[in-house]
Amino acid sequence: MIKKTVNNVQEALKGVQNGMTFMLGGFGLCGIPENAITELVQKNIKDITCISNNAGVDDFGLGLLLQKKQIKKMISSYVGENAEFERQMLSGELEVELTPQGTLAAKCQAAQQGFPAIYTPAGYGTEVAMGKETREFDGKMYVLEEAFKADFAFVKAWKGDEAGNLIFKGTARNFNPCMCGAAKVTVVEVEELVPAGELDPNQIHIPGIFVQRIFQGKDYEKRIEQRTVRPKS
């Protein structure tokens, strides 16, 4: 068994540098690599290109890096309710490459699995396809989208073992699995790190081969963006 464990977030982020391209898992604030983000703020890494579906909210998640102007470019599908993101984008301070959500996932997975590019119907006939190759298959039009290239992928899993095998929980799974192995170095933080052999090999969502470093995360806030409930009947 090849061990992937490192002791802490500092060790896990060894080698991150200004100007790098990072992938960050999560959808909204669900399943984001909170420890890695905090450490990126701490280290004040600058000129980052972030591949991430969202950019957090003003004061949490990637919003923290936006506030400190550490991000040069966002590759995302949704700006949503993040006012600072929208402001920096409209003012031109922040470069933004808006990408359809399914294309974003597919470009991650293509990088993970060695596909150089994929054809998707998403965005055909829109400004997203401008300057891109388009092509007809069976009477339907597709856009050619190339696999992402990234230096680090920061991933949050629920459970993981020493061998880097991962299990995700609920919809906190989202982009996290697709990003594993899609960057030169995949760094995973987990809520529970267990010895090899404790996870059922049938239930592993991402085999350790896609992971370079794994560590026990801490102090998870797991903030809820839209708390919606119904009354107990």
Partner: protein, 217 residues
């Protein structure tokens, strides 16, 4: 005239037994409340759940269980979780039977715009571009006119497109309209709304054939 709940209620009648349905943010989310309970339907949320249930009871919210609108939700028996690539595999592979989403503009050829107002507002397309490019059955839920009273059913969209020639049906506060190769075909009027009112609020070509029935909710 219908309110948002009325629009959702009318759209719920388009949801058939055995349908997998993706609901967009806003009015579409309300559709789930009006689906007949004698049919089998499963809701997909593109962030990675099939078999989405209602909002949780107070105190039972789980930060790891949300829908595409970032709202806390529950999972029904028979539900499954999956990653984003698989989720859009379902969508792109046309396994989802019906997509219901909002729009800023729809054109008479079925083009839709709902993600950007250049220089002013950029929400981003989220999963909408994938959904409209893939689904065979796309219903738009929206107000017939914008806040300035201008028609949202146009000859041609003025805003950046989300998808081309993809919308199959539109349900607004005023009418149910089918998008045909000839243009907007008026199918039903909202309660108390006249054909003339609908004509006035529709910029694109409106096809009116025979008596237009008032919708039954």
């Amino acid at each position: 005239m219908l309110d948002k709940n009325g629009i959702a209620q009318r759209i719920a009648k388009e949801v058939k037994d055995g349908f997998y349905v993706n609901l967009g943010i806003g009015i579409p989310t309300l559709v789930a409340n009006f689906v007949r309970d004698d049919i089998e339907v499963e809701f997909q949320s593109e962030n990675g759940i099939l078999g989405m249930g209602p909002f949780p009871f107070e105190g039972e919210e789980d930060a790891d269980l949300i829908n595409a609108g970032k709202q806390t939700i529950t999972a029904l028996p028979g539900a499954s979780f999956f990653d984003s690539a698989t989720s859009f595999g379902m969508i792109r592979g046309q396994h989802v039977d019906l997509t219901i989403l909002g729009a800023m503009e729809v054109a008479e050829n079925g083009d839709i715009a709902n993600w950007k107002i250049p220089g002013k507002m950029v929400k981003g397309m989220g999963g909408a571009m994938d959904l409209v490019a893939s689904a065979e059955n796309i219903i738009v839920a929206m107000m017939h006119t914008n806040k300035a009273g201008e028609s949202k059913l146009l000859k041609k969209c003025s805003l950046p497109l989300t998808g081309v020639g993809c919308v199959t049906k539109i349900v607004t506060n005023l009418a149910v309209i089918e998008v045909t190769t000839e243009g907007f075909k008026l199918l039903e009027r909202a309660p108390g709304v006249s054909v003339e009112e609908i004509e006035k609020a529709t910029e694109g070509k409106l096809i009116i054939e025979g008596e237009i029935p008032e919708m039954v909710l």
